[in-house]
């Protein structure tokens, strides 16, 4: 067994990122994600990497994209107001297919809101925040240990699918301190983007060979000269106004995520084998749900938990399968009702979908959730 250290979710995220190979971090101070920038400032130069505090949130994501374009795994981190500002270049990374991890430690909004208070109010922004249709992957950790391990997974997915991945933490996990045991480095699986090692002058930068999931990436400066743009482009990387090419690109971007559902989407189910009621929760809400589930079972209600780890794409196949056996799903989240809409869409009336939330800067208690679970109509 390795050494157990007391660590905060934000700090574990940085260590996970470094283990994944992140060597460039560009950020801007914002509560409650600041510890991520602070730890990167200390740790990255020790690892031969670079930290830079940019002039604003727009610049920090742009800088991280630039780092990735030059072939270095890059990350930026923020919270709600900053996440709003990052949306512009998040779309750029989606369209230009630049691997990148964007951490959002959610706090209560809208606007400046309650800067140090927990919330899960950004889940829909994580899905739809940047303009236009686009694919996205978002992952939400529930423990400090997951803040480490799932950050590595976020980088791996980002590299494999050449897409930005949103690491959707909440203040509860970002600031939570608990025992953390680092895995043996040999047990950590690291994925690197498929790369063009040697210049191939006639290669089209967005052309895919057979069986490739994404086009191989050519880091700037390695000899393969090409063009990257945020305009709709064809395989050559140059802008096009052709409806056929536009549709082809959009379909490819969407399908590279949706066609790999099994590889990307993860969820956890507790006590669902015999459950009549399920609590659907994610991130920092899981702990209160676990206590509520135990208490409900003591009271004779067969309760289970359905927890998406990957929030986007949502584990809809699993939820659809589970819903048929349930009387009720209680969606517990720290917002005014966001994922509950997704649950209703997926469940399509197979069972009741109820909601319990918080939107006042405090946390949901097990009693809040329990009351909804045991409530009979």
């Amino acid at each position: 067994m390795g050494k157990v250290v007391l660590m905060q979710g934000n700090e574990a995220c940085v260590e996970g990122a470094i283990a994944a190979g992140m060597r460039l971090f560009a950020g801007y101070p914002i509560t409650p994600s600041t510890e991520i920038a602070e730890r990167c400032a200390v740790r990255l130069p020790q690892e031969g990497g670079k930290f830079i505090q940019m002039e604003d949130e727009l610049a920090s994501i742009a800088c991280a994209i630039g780092g990735s374009v030059a072939g270095v795994k890059s990350m930026t981190a923020t919270s709600g107001p900053g996440f709003s500002l990052k949306q512009e270049n998040l779309g750029y990374a989606c369209l230009a297919e630049i691997p990148l991890v964007v951490v959002d430690v959610q706090r209560m909004g809208p606007s400046t809101g309650m800067p140090t208070s927990p919330s899960q109010g950004d889940v829909m922004m994580a899905r739809w925040g940047t303009h236009g249709d686009h694919p996205i992957i978002a992952i939400s950790p529930s423990t400090v240990k997951e803040a480490y391990g799932l950050t590595i997974r976020a980088f791996n997915l980002s590299e494999k699918y050449r897409t930005p991945v949103i690491f959707l933490m909440d203040e509860i996990i970002g600031h939570l301190r608990e025992g953390m045991e680092f895995p043996d480095p040999e047990d950590i699986k690291i994925v690197n983007r498929p790369t063009v090692e040697f210049p191939e002058p006639k290669r089209k930068p967005y052309h895919m060979r057979n069986k490739q999931t994404v086009p191989a990436f050519a880091p700037f400066g390695k000899g393969q000269r090409y063009n990257i743009t945020g305009l709709i482009h064809d395989e050559s990387g140059f802008p096009t106004n052709s409806p056929e090419e536009a549709e082809k690109l959009m379909n490819r971007l969407m399908h590279k995520i949706s066609d790999n559902y099994e590889d990307i989407v993860e969820c956890q189910q507790f006590g669902m084998e015999d459950a009549e009621v399920a609590i659907l929760c994610y991130g920092g809400t899981l702990r209160a749900a676990q206590t509520a589930m135990e208490e409900a079972r003591k009271q004779g209600v067969r309760c289970g938990i359905f927890r998406p780890i990957t929030i986007w794409p949502f584990p809809e196949r699993e939820l659809k399968a589970a819903a048929g056996k349930l009387k009720k799903i209680v969606v517990a989240e720290h917002n005014y009702g966001q994922i509950v809409l997704e649950a209703e869409r997926i469940v399509k009336g197979q069972c009741d979908v109820e909601f319990v939330g918080r939107w006042n800067g405090t946390v949901l208690t097990p009693q809040d959730i329990l009351a909804k679970v045991v409530e009979s109509k």
């Binding site: 670079k50 780092g67 030059a70 000899g223």
Partner: protein, 292 residues
């Protein structure tokens, strides 16, 4: 506007055509979309000539652009090129330079792009003295969107959003960057080709943040809205109204009104950001070795 037909046969090498086109441009993406008489093509060529004179090499040179007329330059130039978002070219370029300081990173931007929506990135990159070279195609107008006034439109001049005359005072972009800490700041013009090439070359050679603010001409929008005449007349205006930095030093402010001051405005030595960061990494590694 010309349409790219993909027919490159019209670019058969002739004595009149610059060798730079074959060496540094992507002929299959020409002709460029800039209007007849636009100064941007001249400035793009100045950049290519400066790269040629310094023998930078295509593969280790990166061209970063934002959005607007100027930003199209990246697509025409055969280097590592990235056409980014409006105003953010310097921020993208910062990441590229930081990730690989060996690369020569050149930003080509417009006046609205670099000093309005991207103004914050400009002043902070200058303050940081990161080794980027920024070439501004300054045409005093938002051309791509059809002639709205920009931060460099002179007071009283017209644009589609300044139908009664521009009330704002205009930015001196090179002066702004100098004030913010740029270690090299210069101004050229589309007319003064040789001087501008030299200024770009010196800017690239400078180890730190360099800006070359180049007066372009936009006969289609700025020129037409302000009755400046044809492209040739606008270039002649640059010829007749330019004064060198040395000449300007001897003139009174009143005499300088309406003049275009060209040349090297400022050059100083100050440690470059990525060099300092690499030194930090080296120092930390040495300390760790000493402690082991």
């Amino acid at each position: 506007m010309t349409v790219n037909t993909g027919d490159v046969s019209v670019y058969k090498k002739t004595k009149q055509m610059s060798d730079l086109i074959y060496k540094y441009m992507r002929p299959e993406h020409l002709p460029q979309i800039w209007c007849p008489g636009c100064g941007n093509g001249i400035i793009m060529r100045d950049v290519a000539q400066a790269i040629e004179n310094l023998n930078l090499g295509r593969s280790r040179t990166v061209i970063v652009s934002g959005i607007g007329c100027s930003s199209r330059a990246a697509g025409y130039m055969d280097f590592n090129t990235i056409h980014t978002t409006h105003g953010r070219a310097i921020a993208f370029a910062t990441g590229i330079k930081l990730a690989n300081p060996e690369l020569e990173v050149i930003v080509i931007a417009g006046d609205g792009d670099i000093s309005a929506i991207g103004g914050n990135h400009l002043i902070h990159a200058a303050r940081r003295n990161i080794g980027l070279t920024v070439v501004v195609m300054n045409n005093n107008i938002y051309g791509m969107t059809g002639g709205q006034y920009s931060p460099t439109t002179p007071t009283g001049d017209f644009g589609t959003t300044a139908p009664y005359g521009n009330m704002d005072r205009s930015f001196d972009i090179a002066g702004l960057a100098y004030g913010a800490g740029a270690s090299y700041a210069a101004r050229g013009s589309a007319y003064h080709v040789q001087q501008t090439i030299q200024l770009i070359q010196d800017g690239i050679r400078n180890k730190g943040f360099s800006i070359i603010d180049v007066a372009s001409v936009c006969p289609t929008y700025y020129g037409r809205k302000n009755k400046k005449g044809s492209a040739v007349e606008m270039l002649k205006w640059q010829r007749d109204n330019a004064v060198t930095v040395e000449q300007a030093a001897k003139l009174e402010p009143e005499e300088l009104r309406g003049k275009l001051v060209i040349g090297l405005l400022h050059h100083t030595q100050y440690p470059e950001f990525t060099y300092q960061y690499s030194e930090l990494i080296r120092k930390l590694a040495e300390e760790r070795e000493a402690n082991e």
